[in-house]
Structure formats: structure tokens, C-alpha cells
């Protein structure tokens, strides 16, 4: 790829070693990676040089990660932002996603985790332009709750709910080669990993649970045929059925599809 086609990534963290490590993990022929040690510096650099992706720490002195996210999204809504946090809480994670972050990643993580995420971010940005037909064919059905670009939740009865992955997410993943999911009776929490998808490019993608609860039934058919996830993500391609434990609170952090 030419210099010009290189994706520009800005890594923001108040610790220089972290910045360097992240940079080393993702720097490649495809990606040009800059670093900034504060929110202020990041804003300045972004003004000089519009980045395709910003990876920012959530907790920083001065302008915080969330403030930076807001500033960036206000200036350029098309920019992708990945939040990295050393002290992850569901609240902040959900908040970030609501504010338009592509995804978030709790520290510490492996280069593979980060690369998968970056790749998805770019694929999504690209997909918005390319796969119009597929995108149009698939919409999140009304009445579904969802985490932007991640998972959905369909409430059934008072407590039970069905959990699945939204098509936006799957679009960025590509061909699924491996699927790891929480098992029956496992306890899952909103905003935490409830499964992992390994794609054909061997990148690993974490699936965040949209709600807290206990798995009462994993989708056995899905485990036999991963393609169902892509083909019918909102019905037969669901992940599992859960018994929710804090539904009322959980839905506040989700978006209701119309």
C-alpha cells in the first residue's frame, strides 16, 4: 500500500511506555501510528492531522478520555475511537459506546486483542461505504435493545432474554473460524466478555454481554454452524438465552431499536 493509503492512528495515554507498547503492537505497513501523552496534545495533533482511528485511555489528567471522545466526535463524526481503560467499569464502558466510541478494551490486553479491534474498526468504516446491499437487508428489529455495534438483547417474559450479535459487528469480523461462548449456568455481566470470535484473519474479537444474568440455554445449533450468525443474526443466530438479574438497570445503558 502507498503512504497515502496508510491508515493513520493516534494512541493517547498519559504513560509513555503504554503509548509505545500499543504503537509497537499495531504499527505495520498498513498503519501509521502517532502517540499523544494527554488529551490536549491529542486534540492538537488531530487538528493538524485528521486521524482515522484514535485509541485513547479513559482516565487521564486534564482532558479525560470521555471528553476527548466527545470533542473528536463533535469535530469529525466519522472518526473511529477505541477506549482503553485501566479501571474498567460497566458504566463508563456503556457510556463510551453510547457517546459513539467504536469499542472499548480493558487493560491489560494482548496485541492480538487490539489488532482484532483495530481491524474491525477499519472494516466498519469501510463497510459503511461498500456493503450497502447487505446492510440494507439487515436491520435491528424493532423492540430489540442493543449496544451500539455489538450485541442485542430481546426481552422475553419478565426476566428472560435472548442475546445475540448485531450485524454491524459481524460485518467487521469477516469469516468466523472459531466461536467461544459462555456455557449454560454461567453468570455473565453487562459490558463484560461473554464470548470470543476468532476470524479467518486469526484476529480475536470479544463479545460484550448486553445484560447481566445467568445463561439458561446456549444456542447449540449455532455451535454446529457458525455461518448462521452472519446469515440470521437476530433470530436463529442468537447466542444464548439468559435469565436476567438486573434488567431494569441494564436497559438504561442500551438503545431501543425502532
Amino acid at each position: 500500500m502507498s503512504e497515502k493509503s496508510k491508515k493513520k492512528i493516534l494512541v493517547v495515554d498519559d504513560e509513555i511506555t503504554v503509548c509505545k507498547s500499543i504503537r509497537q503492537a499495531i504499527v505495520s505497513e498498513e498503519y501509521e501510528v502517532d502517540t499523544a501523552l494527554s488529551g490536549e496534545e491529542a486534540v492538537k495533533k488531530d487538528n493538524e492531522n485528521a486521524y482515522d482511528l484514535v485509541i485513547t485511555d479513559l482516565m487521564m489528567p486534564g482532558i479525560s478520555g470521555l471528553d476527548l471522545l466527545k470533542t473528536l466526535k463533535e469535530a469529525r463524526p466519522g472518526v473511529s475511537v477505541i477506549m482503553v481503560t485501566g479501571y474498567p467499569t460497566i458504566k463508563t464502558a456503556v457510556q463510551s459506546v453510547k457517546l459513539g466510541a467504536f469499542d472499548y478494551l480493558p487493560k491489560p490486553f494482548t496485541p492480538a486483542d487490539l489488532r482484532g479491534l483495530v481491524s474491525r474498526a477499519f472494516k466498519k468504516a469501510e463497510g459503511a461505504g461498500e456493503g450497502e446491499v447487505e446492510a440494507a437487508a439487515l436491520r435491528i428489529p424493532p423492540g430489540y435493545y442493543y449496544m451500539l455495534g455489538h450485541t442485542w438483547l430481546k426481552v422475553e417474559g419478565d426476566h428472560d432474554a435472548v442475546v445475540g450479535v448485531v450485524h454491524d459487528f459481524l460485518k467487521t469480523v469477516g469469516i468466523i473460524t472459531q466461536l467461544e461462548l459462555s456455557k449454560k449456568d454461567d453468570t455473565i455481566s453487562q459490558g463484560e466478555v461473554c464470548g470470543k470470535i476468532t476470524a479467518a484473519d486469526s484476529l480475536v474479537h470479544r463479545i460484550w454481554s448486553p445484560a447481566s444474568g445467568r445463561v439458561i440455554e446456549a444456542n447449540a445449533k449455532l455451535m454446529e454452524d457458525f455461518s448462521m450468525l452472519r446469515r440470521d443474526p437476530y433470530f436463529n443466530g442468537f447466542l444464548f438465552r439468559i435469565e436476567t438479574s438486573n434488567l431494569e438497570e441494564d436497559v438504561k445503558g442500551l438503545i431501543l431499536a425502532k
Binding site: I22, Q24, M59, G86, Y87, K107, F109, D185, G213, S245
Partner: protein, 690 residues
Amino acid sequence: MKKLALSPTMKVVLKRMDSHSMFRKFLDLPLRIKFILSFLVVISFGGIVSLFFGTRLEHRTIFSLAQAKVRHDLASAWTVYNERLNDIRDIVFLNATRDSIQQALLAGDRLVLERTLDRVLRDFHLDVLTVTDGQGKVIYRVHQPDVHGDDQAGDALVGRALQKETVIATEIIPRSELLKEGKDLAERAYLRFIPTPKAAFRPEDHEENGMMLKGAAPMIDELGKVVGVLYGGILLNLNYDIVDRVKDIVFKGERYKGKEIGTVTIFQNDLRISTNVTDEKGQRAIGTRVSQEVYDAVLVQGRPWVGRAFVVNHWYITAYEPIKNISGKIIGMLYVGMLEKPYIDLRNNVMLTFTGIAGLCAVSLLIILFFITSSITNPLRRMVLATKKIAQGDLNHQVQIGSKDEIGELARSFNQMTENLKAANENLIQWGKTLEKRVEERTTELREMQDFLVQSEKLASLGKMAAGIAHEINNPLTSILINTHLMLEKLEKKDEFQENLSLIADETSRCSQIIKGLLEFARQTPPQKVLTRINDLIDRTTQLLENQASFQNVRIVKDLDLTLPPIKLDKSKIQQVFWNLMLNSCQAMLKGGQILISSRLSADKKYIEVRFIDNGVGIPKENISKLFDPFFTTKGSGTGLGLAVSYGIVQQHNGKVEVKSEIGQGTVFTLSFPIEYQTQNLPIKGDTGE
């Protein structure tokens, strides 16, 4: 006996009663003495007054009766007296009309006169019988024939007889005349005064004249011419015929204690000349005189006199009336007297009887009073005693009074009051005990709350620390992890450092997991509660655990109450608690053993209790208080958060965790969850966020 005991007090009391404060002191006296004194005063006053008036009334009645009698007796005495006088008239009249006597007079035949009249004198017990001629000259004196020839026409009675009148009267005969009528008569009349204390003063010391019942009748011839007068009489001096006759007729000789009851006396002037009043020696009291008082009334003023009189040496109830001569001049008195002593004695007897009855009544009253006051004061004393006992705190004391009067009523009320007091006291004691119990309960509650707060504080500080640590450590871990992976990527697959780097990467990930657990614990996310059957959670947990290797030697026994109501629980968290507790038990029974899991309602039915009973090694006492502290562990492995997290979760459910353990015997964990769940959670400071 009681009276004896009282009397000294009364003496003292009486001695004291001399001041103006007597009444106040009286009021201070014991009730019984007050009663008795009051009654005594009333009885004495009443007794004295009634005795006084009774005596007076009786005196008046008896004495007026006596006086009426004595008046009557005097009238009787007069009858006897006048009868005697009439006898004399009859004698002189009859003999004056006798022819033989006229003949003899006319003939001057003294012999015939002597013979005829001498017999008359003797037969009729006359002292004097004398015949005069038509001019009053004495012809013949029967009693003293030698003396004659003297003129008796000057005599009041003879003078009247010379006028053809037959007259009788009591007359004073001077000594000179007496000597003519008979020397013995003059002697009889002569009396020396015996000194009498109350008598009127008289200059002379004797009496020489005599007093005589005298009658005179004319002797009239055929031509109607007075030819002579016959007069006769009885000298009253020392003549006791009349007085004794009156005594016999009127008083019938009655005697009282050796004394004549009735006495009769004829006084010549104020001198007793004929009487049956006796002196100390029993002699007739001739020669004594009447008292000045009677003298003035009867002899001077001429009134009859009735009343008490001291006669010679005794008191008499007496009546005096004057004796008058033919010309109406008072010359003496007739007296009747009754000895006062029988009346006095009668009166005294009556009085004595009255007094006796009154006394008897008083004594009876006092006795009655004594018992009545006893019936008042004894219960009162018992009640005072009871009051004292109650004051000393003996509330079981009851006053035993069976009577149904006001005092009985009082006693019953008192007992009722005591019972109420006792009940109130018991209530108070009960209340005190309850209070103590409640204070104890409250203290326990407070201690539990304090334990809870301490635990919460621990969690809170730990939360803050964990948040800081997580943030600070995750950054270097990120660097380590990324760089390790980057190195691994660059190395040949069979490089000698491959293994080392993988180890670093894995251990870094483990660090991250530890921190995650710490955060999880410290964050204390609010429980997500749904109505759950707790037995289901127990079943599910045991199912999961049975497949675990560490449970291979452990038998799980369940004793579940299937009727328990569903309660609101965070299933996953409670399951975590059960897991932790069972894991804990298993680790205490490395050589195998049994866990008994039971569920049941608490005794007060407000809680569901879940118990985990193992027969493991037990927990040393010093460790029990630290058991729920974060990072406290006796095991080589583990984070020491399991029980701390469990504790926090149970607290979030408003539940309680209790631990009992015996070294070598085993451990019992008891979890209590309230059935009526209160929605407001206790604040957990550990819930920190960004």
C-alpha cells in the same frame, strides 16, 4: 391487763392536762384513750347532773310527803289532845250537875264532897278537882283539902263558869296557884332549863309555873242560880299520857334502829314539859328548849311551823303549832316529829342505787368501749404494721380483718391497694427486666451494626485501594503483556525463550485476573434481586460442585424445608456465597467428610436460615473474628476474598452470617435472609465508580 398498761399513761396524761394546750394534747393522745376519756367525761358529767337533780327531786318528793304526813300526824295529835280536854269538860260538867254534889255544897258538907269527888279525881286521873261557891270562893279542894277559902273568881275559866258557862282550855297556872292546888303539882311544874344549843335566849334559868288542861262548869240550882263552880284539870308537866297516846295511835310505836320514829312533845312556852323525845341516855328530854327559829315562828308570830329541825340530838321532820289559852294567848306548842334518818337512809339508798346503776353502766360502757376501741385500734395497728411492712418493701403482707364494717372495708381497700401496688411493682420489675433484655438486644444489634460498619469500612478502604491499584498496575501490565507478545511473535517457534516468554505472558494475565477479582469484590455491584426459591439455588450449587475434583471425598447431605416461601435474592451472588462456603468447608475436610446443608424458617418466622455444617478441622477462636476480612486466608492458595465477598453479599441482602466452630469438631455457618425484604439497602461504601 390492758387497762393496767394504760393507767400510767393516763396519769401522765392527766398531769399534763393543766395548760391551755390541753385540747391539742388531747387530740395527740392515742385513739383508745381519747375515746375512753371522752366517754368518761360524758358519763361522769351525766352521772353527776342526774344524781344532783335526782337527789333534789327525790328529796323534794320524799320530804314533801314526809311533811304532809307530819302535818297530818300533828292533826291527829290535836285530836288526842282535844279529846283529853273534852274528857275534862265532860267530867266537870257531869259532876257539877250531880244533885248530891250540889246538895253537899249547899249544905257545906265537906265529907260528902270529899267522898264523891275524891273518887272522880282518881277515876279520871285528874290532878285538880276543886269546888267553889257561887262567888268563886274555894269550898273544897279534892287534891289538897286543907287549902280552901281562897277566891278563884279571878280565874278566867272560873269567871266564865260563874256566868253559867262550861268551858275548857289550856292554861298557865302560876306557882302560887299550883301551891294552892297541891304542893306536889308545884314541884312537878318546877323545871330547870337544860342548856340547849339553838334555843332562844331567856333570862331565867327555870320554869316554876305549870300548864294545865283545865275545865270549869257551873253548878246551877233549880231556880237557875249559880251556886257553885266545879273545875278540874290535868297538869301537863311531866304528864306523858297525851304524848305517849299520840305516839301509840299515830306511829304505832314504830322504831328505827332502836329509836322511836315518831315523837310528840307539849311545850310550855318553849320548854319541853311533856315529851317522848329522848336524849343520848334514853331519858325523856324534859327541860330542853325549842330552837330560836321555831320559837320565833310559832311562839312569837303564831304560825304553824313545818320543816327539818334538830331536836335534842337528831334531825326530825317536824310540825309545830301554837297552843292558846282561853283568851287566845299563845302559851305553848304542840309538836310532832318524825325521825329524818329513815328518809335520809331511804334517800341515800336510792342515791346509792342510782350511783351504783350509773357506775355499773359506766363500767359496762368502759368495757364495751374497750372492746369497741380494740376493734378499731387493733385493726388500725395491724394496718399501721402492714403499712410499715409495705414501706419496707414486703408487698405480700395482707391485713387480716374479716369484719364487714368501715374498717373491714378499709382493710379490703388496703389489701386491694397492696395487691395493685404489688402488681404495679411486678410490672415495673418485669418492665425493668424487659428493658434490660431490650438494652441487651439493642447492644447486640449495635455491636452487629458496628461489626457491619467495620466490615463495610474495610470494604470501602479496600475498594479505594483496589481502584487505585487496578489503574496503576494495569498500565505496566499492559506494557508487559504487549511487549511479551510482541517478542513471542518475533521469536522462532522453537526458540529457547519461547517458553519463558509464554510464562511471563500467562502470569501477567493472571495478575490481571487477580486485579479483576479484587475490583469485582471492591466494587460491590448492587445485587440484582428476583423472587427465588432458595432451595433451588442450593440444589444448583451442589450440582455444580459435585463434579469438582476437590469434592470427591466429601459427601453432601441436604435437609431442605420444601415449604419455604420464595424471597428476593441476587441468584448469581447468593450462588457465589454458597459456592464459597462449601468450598471453604471442603478445604477444611481434605481427608473427606460430610457437609450438611439445611434450610428452614427461623423460630420467629422472620428469616430463612441456611446452614452449612461440616465435620472438618474447625476454626481457631482467634481466627473467627478475622474470617471475613479481605485477604485473610489460612490456605496456601486463594485470594482470601471468598468469605469477605460472601459476607458483603449477605449484608447486601440485609442478611446475617454467623459462625460457630469447635477445633476438631467442625464448623457451622448460618446464613439468615429476611423474608420481608426491606427495599432500602444499607449503604455500601465500597461501591466506587469513576
